[in-house]
Symmetry: C2
Subunit: 397 residues, 2 copies
């Protein structure tokens, strides 16, 4: 299993180090500034029941649970929802047959969803293309594109539908999609499965990376599906897939369409993006006033053939370390602890969706946004003859 | 002086606590994740010379200095610039005559600019309405509007021009402006003074808060000056004043207009915004690929008459604690340490402006932004009949 998840030299998480060394009073001050407050106190843990703990222990994954509350209102009831995010390393070596690789992951995911079910999770999201290794670094076509599935009746979709029905759970399932209706095109897609196991719809990746080993633009194109928000019995959900988290307009559009929870299923590695991981999603949460579930895969994936990374370094077989650290951030600026940087995990947050509107009413960003000037600004900007508003010091030559 | 800067119960800063307790090796890992890396290493300190240290010591302010580098290029020379940000508490009680209050602050600022000059700072920015207490919490007109000055020949402007000339320094001076050409209107303005002491132009606050004690919308209106970027001998500079940092489109517009450094002169208090302070500016820096200088005033300001805060709490005379913590963030996701939460300070960063373009070329956000879909989206959104893109679970009643 060492080739699936190389744990050496990787710390488990920042929180562990802070909690190990810093005395309680000062730790509280540090956490207040770094992790925020929910209604005046640090985000509180939610008790984890025995059943969930047992599943987690016997299948070797971490389980965390937190609670964020909102004020009581006179006219609206609380809308308490349990959000779950799952991170996982792959289940079999990348040299195994495609079917075997998929099944090995499905087996792990099934146990993790069982634990989520035991904890009464209502809305769950898996990591980006959870059903396969993140093989786009290789630039090889086969066998990797064979993981691509129909978003209506692919094997992973049928599995997720079964699990959704079993636990009365809305599940967002990010997969590599092959769309046979449209010429067999490949997409990076999130299938949204309702709590009755019905497929509500799908969303696709809006922004495709062109950086480092993220050679995804050679595999699939930008979404043309817009910024759909899915209204479910457990709230309004948007999905901002991976690299879309670097684009503030993408986050904004889900917010303006009414999202209360936006998931960011991702696959990203330490050297490239880790200091950004705790920043971008929280910024989106604070400024758009919705919950964000940030999910990163975990482990180091090794591929059969060596490849280069366009960075002057020798050819190699791994993508670097996916650092996990999945967490949930709240519209009030608070966040949950993150999952491990090296282990599979399920991170659960009980939240009151009323907090979204309450934070809007407190901060008023929705009214101070001046969208009319930016609609005009962007319309001018995309004109090929756009002249930036630059005021040059006249005393310069 | 206790009424000017109430230090009790306030910690100095998070960094102090981390450094006090966490062993070196683990501290390095924590800092890597929390503060980012610049070209593979933690942001390095820049030596502070004796002259600057002496000024800081004898006038009781903190001085920090850091260094961020960029790769060497073949065709462009490095563009090394020293950025300075200054935070300060007020200099005299708010009960003193207006002139006396101003002069007491000017005296402090002069010494801090002397230290910046001794360190060869090229571009400096002061805090929001640095020349006065942040009295908008009171909702009183007089004497507070008497601090408002002409942006061309106000007393503070003339002072800043002298200092700019003295040290060959570009200085961004955020003031309360009275525009007599336009009916004596009041504005929250940043005057940009060139290194020859010339006034290059001004920028105004684009987004005015309506939250907590930030009753600024009763004093001044939203800017109609757009998102100007000032081209100086030391780089292209934009100014996003205070509450504009919660609006990602505001940050974006300065970036698209070519800014390499955006200052965020602010006045914000702990209970309201502190967990957001280390998030929003860094997010702007990462996603728009420019340096951000984040400046918050420091101390607790007490006013002559009591006022209420619309939060059910009794009338009181203070605005809460301005937590300082001014810092600079880089386009590569790294950041400098922050200044104290309780003391005046000058934070200097030596940077290579070439890093902006280099990070753009690495991440490609400028090309993957899909601005055309967002120009269309926002144009549709501002239509009063806009229908959000919501896909409702058909199995819901």
């Amino acid at each position: 299993m060492d080739t699936l998840n190389n744990k050496k030299e990787e710390i488990d998480k920042v929180e562990t180090i802070l909690e190990k060394y810093i005395p309680e009073n000062e730790l509280k001050e540090v956490k207040k500034i770094l992790y925020g407050l929910n209604r005046g106190q640090l985000v509180q843990p939610l008790p984890i029941n025995k059943e969930a703990l047992q599943i987690a222990e016997s299948h070797d994954f971490e389980i965390l649970a937190s609670k964020m509350t909102a004020e009581n209102e006179q006219l609206r009831k609380s809308r308490i929802v349990r959000i779950g995010v799952i991170q996982n390393c792959i289940g079999a070596p990348t040299t195994a047959p495609v079917k075997e690789q998929y099944k090995a992951i499905e087996e792990k995911i099934e146990k993790m969803i069982d634990a989520a079910g035991a904890m009464g999770v209502n809305v769950l999201c898996l990591q980006e293309t959870w059903h396969m290794p993140f093989a786009f670094c290789t630039r090889e076509r086969y066998p990797w594109v064979e993981f691509a599935e129909s978003a209506t009746d692919g094997e992973s979709v049928l599995f997720i539908q079964r699990m959704a029905r079993k636990y009365n759970m809305v599940i967002v399932s990010p997969i590599l999609e092959r769309d046979d209706v449209h010429g067999g095109t490949i997409h990076n897609t999130a299938v949204v499965v309702g709590n009755n196991g019905n497929i509500i719809g799908k969303s696709r990746k809006n922004h495709i990376p062109r950086t480092g080993d993220f050679n995804e633009s050679t595999y699939y194109m930008e979404s043309t599906l817009g910024h759909p928000v899915f209204e479910t019995v457990f709230g309004k959900i948007g999905i901002n897939i991976c690299y879309g988290r670097h684009h503030n307009l993408n986050w904004l559009a889900y917010g303006l369409n009414g999202a209360e929870i936006v998931f960011n299923p991702s696959a990203t590695v330490g050297e490239l993006s880790e200091p950004m991981w705790s920043i971008e999603a929280r910024n989106a949460s604070m400024t758009n006033n919705y919950f964000v579930g940030s999910i990163n895969r975990v482990g180091t994936e090794y591929f059969p053939n060596e490849f280069t990374s366009g960075n002057g370094k020798p050819a190699h077989k791994d993508f670097g370390h996916f650092y996990g650290s999945s967490y949930v951030s709240a519209p009030d600026g608070s966040r949950t602890p993150g999952l491990s940087r090296v282990r599979d995990g399920l991170n659960i947050s009980e939240v009151d969706l009323n907090l979204c509107q309450q934070v809007k009413d407190k901060w008023n960003f929705q009214m101070t946004g001046r969208y009319e000037i930016y609609a005009k600004f962007l319309t001018e900007y995309i004109d090929p003859n756009y002249k930036p508003q630059i005021i040059k010091d006249p005393s310069m030559k």
